[in-house]
Amino acid sequence: MADAEFIQVPNTLRKAKMGSGPGKLDKNLLANAEKAIEAFGEGFSDWIQDDIDEMEVARLRLSQEEEPDRALADLYRIALDLKGQGTSFGYNVVSAVGASLTDFMDPIRESDAPLSALQLDVVTAHVGAIRAVISEGLKDDGGATGQALLNGLARIVAKAQATAGP
């Protein structure tokens, strides 16, 4: 860091604090914000239908080898979005399925090899699982059904990874 230049930046955010000393988060504002998330999330099970339909279209394109790179990118984007949204709106299993699918797809996206039939099955199972979670209204940890879905996905992912090798 011999050639590092340190620049003291004017603190433009001073206007966002009243008083001095350690700031405190306002509990009332925080409670309002939590309520806002809850209210916003009431539409989640409806708007996620568009995402599920889009995933289904991308999955079909993958199976028909129609612009597979584009289809993979679309699937990944939606899975990452769902991973990031589910838990915020009480659908922890949706986040878990999204996380499972993005983890599974990470090495695939870095590889030039076409998707195997088993890998496509894994993708199909994830899309189906998200559809089931929403249609059955499996909120929070999804109960026994939600956990069974996640266990099933973990098994099929493990099988596909074992087949693909290290």
Partner: protein, 188 residues
């Protein structure tokens, strides 16, 4: 003697949200409104956000990572280093579903101030604002980096991070980091 107390006044801030997912933009906007932020702009892609910054004096940017054609990291680099950047010093919160070690260090090295892992919570977002307000960082310019000082505090990484760092160096370890591990990596 009791310590003086202070409160945050987020209503004084201009915030720009960049996310290609309209539901996520709506959610973040809804939380910010509830926390008192009144002046919020949205953009669905990096080019539109960069253009918006030419006339919107944003105090804080909230940026999603996974976008096309330019992703969140490209956008952060643009804001920090482009000749026509309206404010290279603006604090940036990276909001993303990525929490892997490599991703967090990439974000840090692009010049983000704070990293907020999805799923988002109101408290976590509020805390990121508090951190930016309470702990302004000097900027560093080197041959390879321009952005907030990455060595603001040398608290040392928790054990989990050290292990993952080793994993990452050895090419493995894709497990996500917790928010506290992320903060440690970012020097927060």
């Amino acid at each position: 003697m009791s310590e003086p107390t202070s409160r945050y006044a987020l209503d004084n801030l201009n915030v720009l949200i960049l996310d290609d997912n309209r539901h996520m933009r709506g959610l973040v906007q809804s939380i910010l409104h509830s926390l008192g932020v009144k002046n919020i702009r949205e953009a669905a892609d990096a080019a539109a956000a960069f253009k918006e910054l030419q006339h919107f004096l944003a105090d804080v940017l909230i940026v999603d990572w996974h976008m096309e054609p330019l992703d969140g990291l490209d956008f952060v680099r643009l804001v920090r280093t482009a000749k026509d950047s309206a404010n290279p010093y603006v604090p940036i919160i990276m909001l993303t579903g990525y929490t892997e070690y490599r991703r967090v260090t990439d974000a840090r090295d692009a010049g983000v101030n704070e990293f907020l892992a999805k799923p988002i919570s109101a408290r976590a977002l509020y805390q990121r604002f508090a951190s930016i307000i309470d702990n302004p960082r000097p900027f560093i310019r080197t041959k390879n980096y321009f952005g907030p000082d990455r060595r603001r505090q040398n608290l040392g990484a928790p054990r989990g991070v050290q292990e993952r760092r080793k994993d990452a160096q050895e090419g493995g370890g894709s497990d996500g980091l917790s928010q506290s591990e992320v903060e440690s990596l970012l020097g927060g």
